[in-house]
Amino acid sequence: MFGRKRKLDDFSAEIEAHLKLEFERQRALGLSEEEARAAAQRAFGNVMQAKERFYESGRWLWLDHFWQDVRYGARTLRKSPGFTAVAVITLALGIGANTAIFSMVDTLMFRPLPIGHPEEVVFLCLPRDATHFDSGFSGPEFRQIREQSSAVFSDVGAMIMGGLLGGIGRSDGLTVEGTTKPVQALFVTGDFFQMLGIRPYLGRLILPSEGKTPGADPVVVLSYLYWKARFQGDPGVIGKAAFVNGHPVTIVGVAPKGFLGPTPIFEMEAYLPLGMRTVETGEDTAFLTDVSTRDLFIIGRVARGVSIEGANAVLGALGQRLAKQYRRVGVSTLLQAKPLRPPGIIDGSNPFPALAGLFLTLAGVVFGLACLNVANLSLVRAVGRGREMAVRAALGGKRARLVRQLLSETMLLALLGTPAGILASTLALRAITSVAPASDLPLVFEFPFNARVFVFALSIAIVAIAIVGIIPAVRASSGNLSKILHEGGRTSTARSQRTRTALVAVQVGGSLALLIVAGLFARSLKNAQHADLGFDPRNVLNMSFDPAEIGYGQAQGAEFYNRLLTQVRGLPGVQSASLAMVVPLGDTVQGDQVSVLGYVAQQGEQLRAEYNAVSTEYFKTMKIAVLRGRNFLDSDTESSRRVAIVNEAMAERFWPGADPIGRTFKRDGDSAHIIEIIGEVRNSRTADPYSPCGPLFYIPNTQCYSSVQTLQVRTAGEPQAATPLVLAVARGIAPTAPILSVRTMTNAVSNGANGLLFFHLGAELTAALGLLGLTLAVVGIYGVMAYAVGQRSQEIGVRIALGAQSKNILWMISRQGLVIIGIGLGLGLLVAVGVGQLVGNFLVGVAPTDPFTYLGVSVLLSLVALGACFIPARRAMRVDPMIALRYE
């Protein structure tokens, strides 16, 4: 133990010496030996007291007491393993749920990017309205901003996201040793890494001298995770020759561990110098030179001593000059710097704070329930130990010391609960991260455990100690000692019984609120699942390709897709097959501005429509009903007349009440051609399963080439069974072409981020929290009822002896339970209405105050709670009056 200044032994020796010296002095004065000893003792006074006072003046006394308390607490806890186990598990679940959810929220919202001084790093944008902004800039705009903002920025860099995230309908492939695999690329200016202040894990990063010239500096830096996953962390890949989309490059380094790029949700897997974007655009260098091609995101680091507000003042003036010079329309000219922090650059309203608020609230409720539960259990024990406490107080135990002892017992529980809670949350996080979103995007669905979260869990545990420990401790020590001693601690329980009843009622209320939220989410999921999608996802296999990853141009690519389609249609069990640029409820939707002759736009009305480039047989494969006109045919080729098939919403929007067939329109992406409408099909969902369908037109994939296309195969039986056959066909045509993804359409809808993924996650997460809450409430009710029956067994015995019927006893006990449940339900409904305010935005087809859910869940909870009452009540009915009366 920690060294005390002076040992007690040494002090005892000194007193011994003192007594001897005094004894000798008295002897010298002529007293007999016995008299001398007595005189020395008398002169000294109480030796024990002196020693005690010495002991207590020791600096580490509190620590001694603390250890005593801890040892004592450990002993008592060991003596009641049942209580200890329930309390620790309860705390662990409470702490676990909170830690898991906080880990998620931390990753998605708070954890700063792993870069130097992340608070100084910003991205630039021009606001369109309160929540939307334009963050794309042209090369000339970027260079002008860089030159004219040196007063407020120490570095300004730019980047372009490649691949699917780039939104130009293509992906990127990295070929090493003949094998091509998809890679999410980020094209960056040379000073990008220097600006972020990060160092390579291996090799080097992009150099400041690189990236200025199109096609020059053919180097690639891999991300740590990509390097680990694809090359098993082999340092030998550095310096290797490779190809990106068929263009030769050299792998020069690996980015630091933990760095995912400028956003924590998507992982950038390969970094190339900005000028190398020609691996995607070919000869086209507009992204660097053209004033109206606004592909660049601008990232900057504010200079030391400059605040973001200060920077914005300077940028405002710069923005006005830019707007005038480059004719930007539809945006505010107030160029703005916004902090680059999780969840990244989000144009539009950010759903994360609301989601985080909701789930932290729910987890908080669960945590509160867990605390109440432990408090309740401790209270039961504290009252049961009232006699022990009273005896100890009567023997001179100071009250503060008794309270401290109870507190240290609870602290031990919390200490045991913390590692158990961390274990529970690790398991919970593993369950959450095991969710596999059906997405081709480099989504990182990982919520690692970190120090911050650990501290959070620990501080939660400490709060738990305070909440859980103080209530029973105060109660136990404030009892009337002599009364407790005389009455055996039995009759003085009325007040504590009331307290426990109140605690359990609150528990019932909390768990009702949790269950109602879970019920709302479940209903919402059910609504989304049963939504009419407008197409039939069953028995469809999706397989996505991008032959551009191995350097195929349009002619080669179109040839590849043609042969693929022809051969797959000939496979056994295939009913129909088609190709599409985008998959409904997939990662992206394509949209374009349209102009319709004769349609006059309202003030501020955007003439936008979604579109999809599809092959023949598309509507047959997807089972989208053709309402009028014709399907696409093989005769619709690149050189024939441009044609389109529109959905109902598009027809209604531009030609209300009229037949759209034969009408024409233009789209900005292909403004040289007039497009004639040849058919109309039913509305179908594209972006999500519930929003009203907007205008959408289909064009033949022969008239709008996309290198990323998804082959969709409708099979007679299980679609997965066709996978090996289809794969063999694809490999036969282009052995080295990578396959982006293979999944059934059902899975794509169910687990797609734009499909039902978040409905599933929301429903499952709230259901887990709701069940946790319900379990805690049941344990609480059962505990209180069982204890009450135990305490009243003598009374019950008397009643039975005096002729009370079983049903009277049952009623007597159940009444108490009913009161608890009734109060709890009332409380819970109030809380649920409050929490309902938080969930409204995440529900589909169900109001946050949906009476059906409220009623159903209340009935369910009441039944379960009554069940928990029934077991102790039945025990009460069977009380043997003789035994109960003889017991005292």
Binding site: F11, E14, H18, A43, G45, A50, F54
Partner: protein, 118 residues
């Protein structure tokens, strides 16, 4: 030594024990029993010092660094813990003595002739 006589002895005022210990140690190192005896004898047996009460005071003084202690041998060849006045203790003694004198004088002045006559 009768209890009667003991009762007539003066009880020490709060805080004066520290001063007396420091004062006693001015003549050289002493052990606990020696200090107790010295206080009693120099006060002509007027002051009552319970020997046991001495030790918390010694403990306190030692902690504050006014006295230091080490084990040694007494004149009659007994092992004992000897206390020595430190420089800081000396300073403290001077300070406390001055304070005590002023206090005593002030009290004497207030009590005046009455005390003298009594």
């Amino acid at each position: 030594m009768s209890t009667q006589k003991d009762n007539e002895k003066l009880e020490l005022l709060q805080g004066t024990l520290d001063l007396l210990i420091l004062r006693t140690l001015i003549f050289g190192p002493h052990h606990g029993q020696g200090i107790a005896r010295a206080i009693q004898e120099t006060s002509d047996e007027e002051l009552l010092v319970e020997h046991g009460a001495l030790y918390p005071a010694l403990q306190r003084l030692e902690e504050r660094g006014w006295i230091s202690a080490k084990w040694g041998t007494s004149s009659n060849n007994r092992k004992a813990r000897f206390y020595t006045l430190t420089a800081a203790g000396h300073k403290q003694l001077v300070k406390e003595t001055t304070k005590w004198r002023r206090l005593a004088k002030a009290i004497a002045r207030i009590l005046g002739s009455e005390a003298a006559g009594g």
